[in-house]
């Protein structure tokens, strides 16, 4: 499939979905509108709402807040995950002691932590960052742990035969291996950083995309909810594209599977 065909088909999916949405919310079928606009709004109202947000510039402040929260959550969670991942991988005894607690903490739905974080850290950005951190941390932690554990024994033996000491092994073998695992989960962890921020905002905030959606919901402004969702989706796609570019740069040494059309 050529690029042009692919793009055309992708656009078609969007157009058809939007048309169906529009028709079902405006044109009665057998005397009945299948999707009542009160619950489903319609594409034009949503587009109008998005347009107003951008035209008045209201949206930028909210996007900025969400972005800052997600970025902070990502970095703090990653640094914590890397440190603890390395520590546990190099100290199997510590890892064994903490194992059940790590599993417990990871199994806990993070949403239940949101009220605690709000109590502790207030309604500002830090309670959202904390929520994002709890999500990002575990992904990075598990990957770094795995990356350090799963260094090829041959590569490790080779490094030792080449005269590397513990510190050099760390720098030339464990660290790159752990990072490659971490980077391969970059999309997931960045995605979760955004999820943490938005969910946190939704549960109680004064700004951000989640707050915007929650406010619209509070006054039954369905167009506002959908508009918030669309802005969020676009925001995530932009971030994901940036991550892809960064990933390509960082993992240049990795073989790329040849995909043929």
């Amino acid at each position: 499939m050529s690029r042009v065909t692919l793009l055309a088909l992708q656009v078609m999916v969007a157009v058809v979905s939007l048309m169906l949405w529009h028709l079902l919310t405006t044109v009665p079928v057998f005397g009945r509108v299948l999707l009542p606009p009160f619950f489903f709004s319609n594409p034009f109202d949503v587009a109008h709402q998005v347009y107003i947000w951008f035209a008045t510039g209201v949206i930028w402040k909210h996007l900025w807040v969400t972005l800052i929260e997600a970025v902070l959550a990502f970095f703090i969670g990653s640094i914590g995950g890397i440190l603890v991942g390395f520590w546990f991988a190099r100290q199997p005894r510590t890892a064994a002691v903490f194992d059940p607690y790590v599993k417990m903490a990871n199994a806990l739905p993070r949403v239940v932590l949101a009220p605690i974080f709000t109590l502790w850290l207030g309604l500002g950005i830090w309670s959202k960052v904390a929520l994002g951190v709890t999500l990002v941390f575990f992904i990075v932690f598990f990957n770094v742990y795995q990356g350090v554990k799963e260094v090829s024994p041959t590569v490790l033996a080779n490094a030792r035969m080449l005269g590397m000491n513990e510190r050099q092994l760390m720098r030339h073998v464990y660290w790159p291996s752990a990072l490659s695992w971490m980077f391969s989960s970059l999309h997931t962890s960045v995605g979760f950083a955004v999820v943490g921020a938005v969910v946190g905002e939704y549960l109680g905030a004064a700004a951000g995309l989640g707050y915007l959606i929650q406010q619209a919901e509070g006054i039954f402004d369905v167009a506002g909810v959908f508009a918030g969702m669309f802005v969020l989706a676009a925001f995530v796609i932009v971030i994901d594209t940036i991550v892809t570019v960064i990933e390509r740069r960082l993992l240049v040494w990795r073989p790329v599977a040849e995909t043929r059309p």
Partner: protein, 276 residues
């Protein structure tokens, strides 16, 4: 059939294994004896090949000489001194890919000197010279996955030799390569080796390769509890060309003689590998 002991000279052997046992603890609590009472001496500057059926513990013996594995019994002496841990005087060329996948060919070769404390620019320059020596001067910026199997082995060879180890341990290094590339690599190895005659312990299951390359061929029996059962001097003149030497009558006679002994062990080895 001529059994030859290693010549007793005044200089201590580069590698001397005396009655080495190798055993592994199994998951069920039992003990698996891989190698039993192995005696092997490699003189300084000597090229010795170990040949044996699959799974006979050849590589295990190399790991013992490298210090990656401690023997369950017996003694390992390197230039007359007991081996305390890792063998710092040895370079090891592994069978599997051992290059650092996240480093370019040049970085892979330069890492040895850099680890030893050489400033990076100098290490890079030397690495470039070594890459050129193994015929990969223009491939320094490639990552391992961009190189062919033969090219990766060349980088591996440069990575090991740049450190100028006194002993070279090689574990079926050309095993995964195709026949033509193996010959080319064999000739390259002999070429590099003849420049400064390191002590070499070369493990292979290919008898032809062993005879063509080495001064002595050591035969191991099928495992478990594999033993060294033969030690043959290779009286072929150097320098050799691997593809031509195989046509010589001396080569063919030696090959016939050794193969006669090895055949029985290979059959035994297969039978065990298939769980018969």
């Amino acid at each position: 059939m001529q059994e030859t002991a290693s010549p007793q000279t005044a200089a201590p052997s580069a590698i001397a294994l005396n009655g080495v046992d190798v055993a592994f603890r199994l998951a069920d609590g039992g003990v698996y004896t891989a190698v039993e009472r192995a005696d092997l001496a490699v003189a300084d500057g000597e090229f010795v090949a170990i040949v044996g059926p699959t799974g006979c513990g050849k590589s295990t013996l190399l790991n013992i000489a490298a210090g990656l594995l401690a023997p369950a019994g017996g003694q390992v002496n390197i230039y007359g001194a007991p081996l305390p841990g890792l063998n710092r005087q040895a370079g090891y060329l592994f069978q599997a890919d051992a290059l650092f996948p996240w480093k370019t060919a040049l970085e892979n070769v330069a890492i040895g000197p850099e680890t030893a404390g050489m400033p990076a620019p100098e290490a890079r320059a030397r690495a470039q010279a070594w890459l050129t020596r193994v015929g990969l001067g223009a491939f320094g910026d490639r990552y391992p996955h961009m190189l062919s199997g033969g090219q990766r082995k060349r980088v591996g060879l440069a990575q090991v030799l740049i450190r100028d180890p006194k002993i070279l341990l090689m574990d079926e290094p050309f095993g995964p390569l195709d026949a033509q590339t193996r010959q080319i690599m064999g000739n390259l190895l002999l070429d590099l080796w003849s420049a400064d005659r390191k002590a070499v312990l070369f493990v292979t299951h290919d008898l032809e390769e062993a005879i063509a390359l080495s001064d002595r061929v050591v035969i191991m029996s099928a495992g478990p509890a594999a033993r060294i059962i033969g030690d043959w001097r290779v009286p072929l003149a150097r320098p050799r060309d691997i593809s031509e030497i195989k046509a010589e009558p001396d080569f063919q006679k030696l090959h016939r003689d050794i193969w006669h002994m090895l055949k029985a062990e290979v059959i035994k080895g297969y039978a065990q590998a298939e769980g018969v």
